[in-house]
C-alpha cells in the first residue's frame, strides 16, 4: 500500500495464474524432498535388480557356494556387509536378492490388479446379485489378516517363489476389488456417465471405457505403495521359512538364517532387514508424493 507502483493501464484486469498439473507437480516436488528421495530409492532398486550380477562384487555367492575360509567375517573393506555362516558375501546376496523381491512385488501387483480391478468395476457397475456376491466373497478373503492367509496357503503347498507370488496375489486382489468398487460406486453417478448412457454406449463400454480411465491416478498411487507392502509381506514370509527356500538370497530368509547367529554376527540380520526397510520406505515416499502430485486424497 505504501509503495507507488508504475500506473497500470486501466483495462489491465488482474488475472489469476492458471496452475496446471505440471506446475503443481513441480511445486510439490520442490516442497517435498522426501518424494525425490523416494523416487531415487525406487530407481536405485530397479537399477540394482536389473544389473545385479554386474553390481554384486561376488555374484556367485547368491547360490549354494561354500567359502569356509572366510566365514562369519564382520563388515570390512572387502566385504562391506560381512560374510555369512558359509563365507558368502552378504552385500552380494542382498544385491542379487533385490531381483527376488522386485519380481515378487511386480508379479503380485499385476496379477492382483488384473483380477481385482475388473471384479470391483463389475461389482459396482452391475450391482444387484452379481455385485453382492463378488463383494461377499471379497469380505470372506478379508476375514483373516493377509499375512495369515498367505502363510496358510503357502504352508499347504511347497514353498517356492511361484508359490509365494500365487499366495500373495490370491490375498491381494481383494484390495484392488475394494478400491475399484468404491471409486466406481461414486463415479457411477457422475454426469459424464449419464451422458455416455444417453448417447447409447453399452454397459461394458461405459464401465471400462468411460469409468475405468478415471481410476488411473488412484491405481498408480495404490500400485506404488503396494509394491513396498508386497516386498514387506514377501520378506515376512521368507523370515518364517515359508518363502523361496535357501540358498535363494531372499531378504527375509537371510534375516531368519542370520537370526541363529545373534547376538554375535549382527550384520547377518541387520543389513538384509535394512534392505527391506529401504525398499518399502522408498515406495512409500514415492507413492505418497505421487498422491500429492496427482491430487489424490490423504
Amino acid at each position: 500500500m505504501t509503495s507507488i507502483a508504475p500506473s497500470a493501464p486501466l483495462d489491465d484486469e488482474p488475472h489469476s495464474v492458471a496452475v496446471g498439473l505440471g506446475t503443481r507437480a513441480w511445486a510439490s516436488l520442490r516442497n517435498s524432498p522426501l518424494t525425490v528421495i523416494g523416487f531415487l530409492v525406487c530407481l536405485g532398486l530397479v537399477v540394482m535388480a536389473a544389473f545385479a550380477p554386474w553390481i554384486a562384487p561376488f555374484p556367485e555367492d547368491a547360490g549354494a557356494v561354500v567359502k569356509f575360509h572366510q566365514r562369519l567375517q564382520p563388515p570390512s573393506a572387502e566385504h562391506w556387509f560381512g560374510t555369512d555362516l558359509v563365507g558368502r558375501d552378504v552385500l552380494s546376496r542382498i544385491v542379487m536378492g533385490s531381483r527376488i523381491s522386485l519380481a515378487t512385488a511386480v508379479a503380485v501387483i499385476v496379477a492382483a490388479a488384473l483380477i481385482g480391478v475388473p471384479l470391483g468395476v463389475i461389482a459396482a457397475y452391475r450391482g444387484g446379485w452379481t455385485g453382492a456376491s463378488i463383494m461377499r466373497i471379497n469380505e470372506v478373503f478379508l476375514a483373516i489378516p493377509s499375512l495369515v492367509f498367505v502363510l496358510v496357503v503357502t504352508s499347504l503347498m511347497r514353498p517356492s517363489l511361484p508359490v509365494t507370488i500365487f499366495a500373495i496375489a490370491l490375498a491381494w486382489w481383494t484390495w484392488y476389488a475394494r478400491l475399484a468398487y468404491g471409486e466406481v460406486l461414486s463415479l457411477k453417478e457422475e454426469q459424464f456417465v449419464d451422458a455416455a448412457r444417453t448417447s447409447g454406449a453399452s454397459d461394458l463400454r461405459i464401465a471400462f471405457g468411460e469409468i475405468l480411465p478415471n481410476l488411473t491416478s488412484v491405481l498408480i498411487v495404490k500400485t506404488t505403495l503396494d509394491l513396498g507392502y508386497v516386498i514387506l509381506l514377501g520378506a515376512s514370509l521368507g523370515f518364517l521359512g515359508l518363502g523361496p527356500q535357501p540358498p535363494a538370497p531372499e531378504w527375509g530368509t537371510m534375516v531368519a538364517e542370520g537370526r541363529e547367529q545373534l547376538p554375535d554376527a549382527w550384520w547377518l540380520t541387520t543389513f538384509p532387514g535394512l534392505a527391506v526397510f529401504a525398499a518399502v520406505v522408498g515406495f512409500n515416499l514415492f507413492g505418497d508424493g505421487l498422491n500429492d502430485i496427482l491430487g489424490g486424497r490423504d
Binding site: I4, A5, A8, L10, P14
Partner: protein, 346 residues
C-alpha cells in the same frame, strides 16, 4: 478515525488491520489491506460487502482466532475498551472471548459440536468460559459436584428460555443433529449472550436459513442486543438487512473499508462508486432492471497498489492506479476511500 471523541469512546477500534499469508511459491499475499473499523458502546454496526471481500476474516482477526499459520497479522491495531489486543499477549483475548465479545456464527448447523448434547456444551461454557488453562482436576471438579450441576442446569434452561426455545428441559438432552437450523441458531445465540457480552459479532447469522426463519433470528438478535445494552457488529451481504438493522455501516471491498457513515446517510447518498453499485444491484419489487457491477473481485495475489475497485469502476482515472486512496472524512461520520468522492455525483 472519524473524530477524536470517537477514538476515546470506541468499544472496538480497528486501525489499519493488515492480514496476509505466504503462498506456496513464497510470494506474499495480502487479504486485508488496512481495515479501519470502529464500534461504539450499544451501537449496531453493519459490515457489508460481496463474498470474499474479507468481512469474515475481519471478524476472526477481531476475535483473535485467525488460522495462524498460514495467515498472519502483518500490521495495524485492534483496540477493545482501550486495550491494544495485538500488543497484549494471547491470554488477554481469552479473557474477553465469550465474556466481553462473542460470535453468532454463519452456519448454525455445523457450529455446535455434533458429538455432545446441547446441555453438555452449555455445561462446559458455564464452567470454563474465559479460563486460560484447564487441567484434569479442574475439568472433573464441576462435573462431580451436584450443586454445580444443578446450578448449571438451571442456568442453561434459563438461557434456552430466553431465546424462546420450546421445551428447554428436553433440549438439554438433545444432540445438534436432532435440531433444525433455526433452533441451532437460537441455541448459539443463547450461548453468545450467556455472560452479557459488550460486543456481539454476528457473522451472517441468517444466511444459511430460510427467509422467514432469518427474519425471526434477526428480530431475536436485535431484541436481545437492545435488552442487554450490548453493541453488535453485524456482517452481511444483504443491504436490505443492513439498512433495517444498523445505526452505522461499513462497506468493504477487496480487503479494505471503502465507505462508512450513518446507515441513512450512506444509503441515501453513497459517496463511493462501489457502494452505488451495490445499491443498484439490490433487486426490487418493481419492473426496473437490476444493474450489476461488471467484472469480478480482483485476485489478491496480483492486486498491487492503487484503488482496488478501479478495474470495475466507471469513474476510474489514471490517478486511481497510482496509489491506494485512504478513507477520508467527508462530513460528520461519513467517509469514503474514493479519490473523486468530492467531484463525482453518484
Amino acid at each position: 478515525m472519524t473524530s477524536s471523541a470517537a477514538e476515546t469512546e470506541a468499544l472496538l477500534d480497528v486501525r489499519g488491520l493488515t492480514v496476509g499469508f505466504t503462498d506456496v511459491d513464497r510470494s506474499s499475499v495480502t487479504l486485508l489491506r488496512g481495515v479501519d473499523l470502529a464500534v461504539h458502546r450499544g451501537e449496531i454496526v453493519a459490515l457489508v460487502g460481496e463474498s470474499g471481500c474479507g468481512k469474515t476474516l475481519t471478524t476472526r482477526a477481531v476475535l483473535g482466532l485467525l488460522p495462524t499459520p498460514p495467515l498472519a497479522v502483518r500490521g495495524g491495531e485492534i483496540h477493545f475498551e482501550g486495550i491494544d489486543l495485538l500488543a497484549a499477549d494471547g491470554d488477554a483475548w481469552q479473557e474477553l472471548r465469550g465474556r466481553a465479545m462473542t460470535l453468532v456464527p454463519q452456519h448454525p448447523l455445523s457450529s455446535l459440536n455434533p458429538v455432545f448434547t446441547v446441555g453438555e456444551q452449555f455445561f462446559d461454557l458455564l464452567s470454563f468460559q474465559g479460563q486460560a488453562s484447564l487441567g484434569p482436576v479442574g475439568y472433573w471438579r464441576p462435573r462431580l459436584d451436584r450443586a454445580t450441576r444443578a446450578r448449571h442446569r438451571a442456568a442453561t434452561i434459563e438461557a434456552l428460555k430466553s431465546v424462546s426455545l420450546p421445551d428447554p428441559e428436553g433440549l438439554i438432552e438433545r444432540y445438534p443433529a436432532e435440531l433444525s437450523g433455526g433452533m441451532c441458531q437460537r441455541v448459539l445465540i443463547a450461548m453468545a449472550l450467556l455472560s452479557n457480552p459488550r460486543l456481539i459479532i454476528a457473522d451472517e447469522p441468517g444466511t444459511a436459513l430460510d427467509v422467514t426463519i432469518e427474519a425471526q433470528i434477526n428480530r431475536l438478535l436485535l431484541t436481545k442486543v437492545r435488552e442487554q445494552g450490548a453493541a453488535m457488529l453485524y456482517i452481511t451481504h444483504d443491504l436490505g438487512i443492513a439498512r433495517e438493522l444498523s445505526d452505522r455501516v461499513f462497506v468493504m471491498y477487496a480487503g479494505s473499508v471503502v465507505e462508512t457513515g450513518r446507515t441513512g446517510d450512506v444509503f441515501a447518498r453513497p459517496r463511493h462508486p462501489y457502494t452505488r453499485g451495490l445499491l443498484d444491484a439490490v433487486p426490487r419489487l418493481s419492473s426496473a432492471p437490476i444493474k450489476g457491477i461488471r467484472g469480478v473481485l480482483p485476485d489478491p495475489k496480483t492486486l498491487g497498489s492503487g484503488c482496488a475497485f478501479r478495474f470495475r469502476c466507471d469513474y476510474a482515472i489514471a490517478a486511481c492506479a497510482a496509489r491506494t486512496p485512504p478513507l477520508s472524512q467527508l462530513s460528520g461520520l461519513h467517509a469514503s476511500a474514493c479519490l473523486r468522492a468530492e467531484e463525482i455525483t453518484l
